[in-house]
Symmetry: C2
Amino acid sequence: MANIKDVARMAGVSIATVSRVLNEYPYVAKDKQEKVRAVMKELNYSVNGNAVKLIKGKTNTIGVIVPYNNNSCYDELINGILKKAHELHYQVLLLPSYYENVIESSYLTLLKKKMIDGILLTSHTLHPEQILALSEWGKIVCCEACPVEHVPSVFPDRFAAYIEVFTYLKNKGYNRIHFTSGRDFQSSPSTRLRIQAFQETITVAYENQFFDQCFDYQDGKRVGDLMFRNSIVPDAIFTNGDEVAAGIIASAQTHGYSYMQDFEIIGEENTPLSEILGFPSVDYHQTAIGEQAVSLLLSDEYARIQIRHQLNFRARTEASALS
Amino acid sequence: MANIKDVARMAGVSIATVSRVLNEYPYVAKDKQEKVRAVMKELNYSVNGNAVKLIKGKTNTIGVIVPYNNNSCYDELINGILKKAHELHYQVLLLPSYYENVIESSYLTLLKKKMIDGILLTSHTLHPEQILALSEWGKIVCCEACPVEHVPSVFPDRFAAYIEVFTYLKNKGYNRIHFTSGRDFQSSPSTRLRIQAFQETITVAYENQFFDQCFDYQDGKRVGDLMFRNSIVPDAIFTNGDEVAAGIIASAQTHGYSYMQDFEIIGEENTPLSEILGFPSVDYHQTAIGEQAVSLLLSDEYARIQIRHQLNFRARTEASALS
DNA sequence: GCTTGACTTGAAATGCATTTCATTCTTTAC
DNA sequence: GTAAAGAATGAAATGCATTTCAAGTCAAGC
């Protein structure tokens, strides 16, 4: 495979000149320019991207750490990331962590190895110290609220959303309000926030009103079966994620209860699912978060930007369409 | 930042020895090994990944070209890809094409630039010649059936699935069978296959039974409104994707028709949606396709592997849950 | 006619790690 | 006791492009 040396030799110029043509520097004589271009075409030459990365010390690549890719809640976020990165001529390395701390921290070392210019964290298990320890080698931006200072982040105002949802449900006079979550409160900050928001708004607490380990439709069905197995039915349920909500709705039906007649449900992420089934859902504007996270990552500023959520109620026509 | 030279100097050995320690070669004296490791720790040293890539001529990175990331039909596929790639110690560059040929072919040149070892194509607009022209620089595997030889691929047997669905509907005695598709038949091979399968199985053709430009829930509602606006209602509808099917079901309801009583519908991709709404869906086993595509990409074999689909009927209990 | 500034060009240093080749020193084997 | 095999190590070549520095040409300006 041809390299810059071959091109230089065949064009009868120095490699410096070839490099100048390659990078469209001014001050290269027209005839040599054309000659070099002709030779490059003839030899079917391309720069070696790794040589460029090596000498420039820059890769134009960012890493995005996600737990998995089969949870639709990351679709919008990643889409925003891809869009903005493409706009700014950066490429995106998708790094699945499977929520394993060892894997996550191995990804952070990609910064030290100069293989990426920065990292975007979505949901993670990393401790702030782990992040800060590596951030001297490249910028790390978090797409969730980070408990410590110094970690730049663009994040949804989850706590405000939780408060808003619980308040809304409380004001409707509901007594039995269930809610679900993903990882347990020890590993997940958002689960802790959820519980905290609950405690700050709802006074009536009872057993079996909180269910964690909910991630997808099947989990929703599973906890739905727990919720509806006896005759005491919840007035309302606030789920993490629309898929979980959908699973609960499906489970409720098999137990003879129906969403809207017998209980209210509010989901999260505002996916097509909530639109289709007609339940309200909290939209965290993840596309915007993704875009702004990339912008922040590639800027040299420090910021902690909170993106305002929106509690999305469905038009009744849609809601009734499937009931 | 410390490099291998610094480590060598401080440890009092040659860079060759440091490299040996780094790569765990045998034949390095224990004491020097320890000294080198100590110095590496002291200097907080990491290899420069780009230097390694440059000299080894290998990146351990593959590129995955996808049109977008906000269509859930790629979730399973990408998840399979990520999983297998991680297993084989490869990293994944996610390359959004927005269905633009220029962007797609620019990604192919990443191979020439040695920035990735191989490319996985999902849905694409590239012509076979474009693919073959670049495949001398690295392996390109297609996750859809490729019309020409020489392009290794792992793909769903869409045509067989289409035939199966249409035959199933025909055998039920239906006369009015609508079907939908995404891109028009000129740009999309699968749309062509769909039409061909229809022609080979169904004899009764009529106007307005085929609708393209369907991609999501809204499109489903849109074409649903067209299907149900007059009193002639289809017996069955075969959609591309579960979201489109859901949109049609929603639209039908607003027109006073209901899925299962008045018409049958079959979706695609077997997402939670079809499970929730209780309509059958074709599962192409995209996770398996993704995994095998990565395996094929990283092997030195040529193959065109067809993955068998499965027409997934729903248990009546689920199906009735929401009706 | 000479200075000055605008162009044009190439040699060489730089970024960093891998690997081959040659060399030296030990063992083991017969 | 000597040949053969094993262990340990470094010098130097290699992969490839960017960029600085120095030096050259040429035309405009006084």
